[in-house]
């Protein structure tokens, strides 16, 4: 019954409620799929099979009584950044070795209260710092998508007579999968890879600069970063507190809407959680977008952008126009400064947040000759290269004499970035359409990116502005490039207007169709 893993959440929900399938069956199907695929894809860092079976059993009892919650019996993967009581929670870092919290994050608490089943913890870039899932202490995650080559094959020829007359037998095209392994994007690479490879029905993820939307785009999945304050950050390992937001990665737009409704809440334990009721996002799907004003920002047309991505963007514009939307050219003049401002604000906050990993309260401890030596050795051994790099940048820009020049300047630029969006929305634009990423999935251990950290950072060039302004953004698959790899479009909305994003993303999904990788794993 492995095809149970191919059901979307909405399909599985109907079959579970109709008692056509049981939560135990669908959970076993996913556990079997994980067993087979995980040695290759490395998407899970911990599989909680026993817990999954117990939760599925409890779900089946509820479903039998007709008492199932919104996600009753739906098996999910959880990013390793979310605290899960008594279960591996390490942000995929060595410094949190053995950490099993005594509490549960608000987002996962909400999911379990709605009946979801936990399959395990998903791989990610260490402390969510990365765009390729290669900084994880647990090794890289592999993208289930591979490039393919389309060859024109000449049919066998026949020789006739002594004159050596040759007749060509015609041609046909043949698609061959390349063996090169690609990254799934990051930091939520395990979430994206496991959803795309049918190793969970949906996954939790987090997004500080693009960590939900970029991996979703690179794996042909749907990912939404809601407005800052929509999902509680309580119990999520902190990276950059003014930018971090949780959201789902799912196989289609409807599933993303279903998951976000359960994840989002008003939480007194997070002072930045916003006091607004959570709407029924699914109800927005299928509503016409006739008359909607869609902004196309000219600053997102960057030098060296592949033709495939420009073509995809034009295609997206055409689809929305066909659906009755009004397309307007807009300008977000401070766009190019978002990424440099981010690389001051995010490391500054990270350097403060990561000060807590000191070898005293949890995780790794490396002995030293005195307490300072112990701190320094523990942090040297516990953090990976990228994390150290960001702590160092953050410490430097916050240090005496540099604070005004870097941090204060960046926070002022951030005000201007947010103002750009406010002006456009005030002018009547309902939603903004952009590419999600500047390229399709790239190779594991890409030399260019390994040699220059800034090259890796440029992956987030289209997504990071949204975090800087606290806005909601969704990445929806819109097509394949010339090599057969998925590409995504991004929609950016007004604060707390996730409904418009689901509504519009669904129009793109209907036009583009859905994409799934050819199975090789």
């Amino acid at each position: 019954m492995s095809d149970l893993t191919h059901l979307t959440i909405s399909e599985a929900r109907a079959k579970l409620r109709g008692k056509e399938i049981s939560a135990a069956e669908i959970t076993e199907a996913y556990l079997a799929a994980i067993d087979r695929a995980n040695p290759v894809l490395n998407a899970y860092v911990a599989v909680t099979a026993d817990k999954a079976r117990d939760m599925a059993k409890a779900s089946d009892a509820k479903l039998a009584k007709g008492e199932g919650g919104a996600l009753e019996g739906i098996p999910l993967g959880i990013k390793d950044l979310f605290a899960t009581e008594g279960i591996h929670t390490q942000a995929c870092s060595h410094v949190l070795d053995g950490f099993e919290p005594r509490y549960e994050s608000t987002v996962t608490t909400n999911l379990w209260a709605d009946g979801a089943v936990m399959l395990g913890k998903l791989n990610m870039d260490e402390f969510a710092m990365g765009s390729s899932n290669e900084t994880s202490y647990y090794g890289p995650v592999i993208n289930p998508w591979r490039r393919s080559r389309v060859d024109t094959v000449v049919m066998p020829t026949t020789h006739q007579g002594d004159g050596g007359f040759v007749s060509a037998g015609g041609t046909k095209t043949q698609r061959t999968l390349d063996n090169a392994q690609l990254v799934p994007g990051g930091s939520s690479g395990g979430s994206a890879s496991s959803v795309a490879a049918f190793l969970c029905a949906g996954a939790t993820a987090t997004d500080t600069g693009g960590s939900i939307r970029q991996p979703a785009a690179l794996t042909g999945t749907v990912g939404i970063k809601p407005t800052y304050g929509r999902c509680s950050r309580w119990g999520i390992v902190a990276f950059a507190s003014s930018l971090d937001q949780a959201g789902p990665i799912a196989r289609d737009v409807r599933d993303a809407a279903i998951l976000l409704r359960s994840m989002a809440s008003v939480d007194p334990k997070d002072t930045t959680s916003v006091d607004r009721p959570v709407p029924d996002y699914e109800a927005a799907i299928g509503k016409p977008i006739k008359g909607m004003k869609v902004g196309i920002p000219k600053e997102y047309r960057v030098d060296g952008m592949p033709e495939d991505i420009e073509a995809l963007w034009q295609q997206g514009i055409a689809w929305l126009k066909d659906a009755g939307a009004e397309i307007v050219d807009i300008s977000l003049p401070h766009t190019k400064y978002a990424l440099p401002a981010y690389y001051i604000v995010a490391p500054a906050e990270a350097s403060s947040n990561l000060a807590r990993y000191d070898g005293v309260r949890y995780g790794l401890r490396v002995p030293g000759k005195d307490i300072i030596d112990m701190y320094e050795k523990t942090r040297a051994a516990g953090f990976g290269r990228e994390v150290k790099r960001r702590i160092m940048i953050g410490t430097y820009v916050l240090s005496a004499g540099y604070y005004d020049a870097y941090y204060l300047q960046a926070q002022k630029v951030r005000t201007l970035i947010k103002r750009d969006f406010e002006n456009v929305f005030a002018a009547g634009v309902d939603v903004i359409l952009t590419p999600a990423t500047p390229s399709a999935a790239f190779g594991i251990a890409d030399e260019d990116m390994a040699s220059d950290p800034v090259k890796m950072y440029l992956n987030d060039i289209f997504t990071v502005t949204v975090n800087m302004a606290g806005l909601p953004g969704i990445s929806v698959p819109a097509g394949l490039d010339g090599k057969g790899l998925p590409l995504g479009l991004q929609l950016i909305g007004r604060p707390f207007d996730e409904e418009t994003l689901f509504q519009t993303a669904h129009v793109i999904e209907q036009a583009a169709g859905r994409f799934q990788p050819e199975k090789w794993w």
């Binding site: 540099y402 630029v413 951030r414």
Partner: protein
């Protein structure tokens, strides 16, 4: 602005991360690449612009000044590398 080897070592000390000579040299190059990239922020005219303090305009939530949690000493030390009777153990800090 760029950093030299001495600055990198000083920052590493502030961040409590032990670095070898080789680490420090590599980090100097990496940090300068990043600082070079963020340099472009200086072209932005920010006169009269307030620095952002909160991305969503909202008043800080306050709770009642009452005890709502506690008596969890065993939970709090449960993940610590070294403890004794619900205390964290650290290397000697006072002679």
């Amino acid at each position: 602005m760029s950093v030299d080897l001495q600055t990198v070592k000083r920052v590493a000390r502030l961040a409590r991360i032990a670095v070898s000579e080789e680490d420090a040299e590599r980090m100097t190059g990496e940090l300068n690449a990043i600082l070079g990239f963020v340099e472009q922020l200086n072209e932005v005219d920010v006169s009269g612009v307030e620095p952002m303090t909160s991305v969503t305009p909202m008043e800080m939530k306050k709770r009642q000044d009452a005890v709502t949690d506690g008596n969890k000493a065993a939970d709090i030390v449960a993940n610590a590398p070294a403890t004794e009777e619900n205390f964290f153990l650290v290397p000697k800090v006072v002679e």
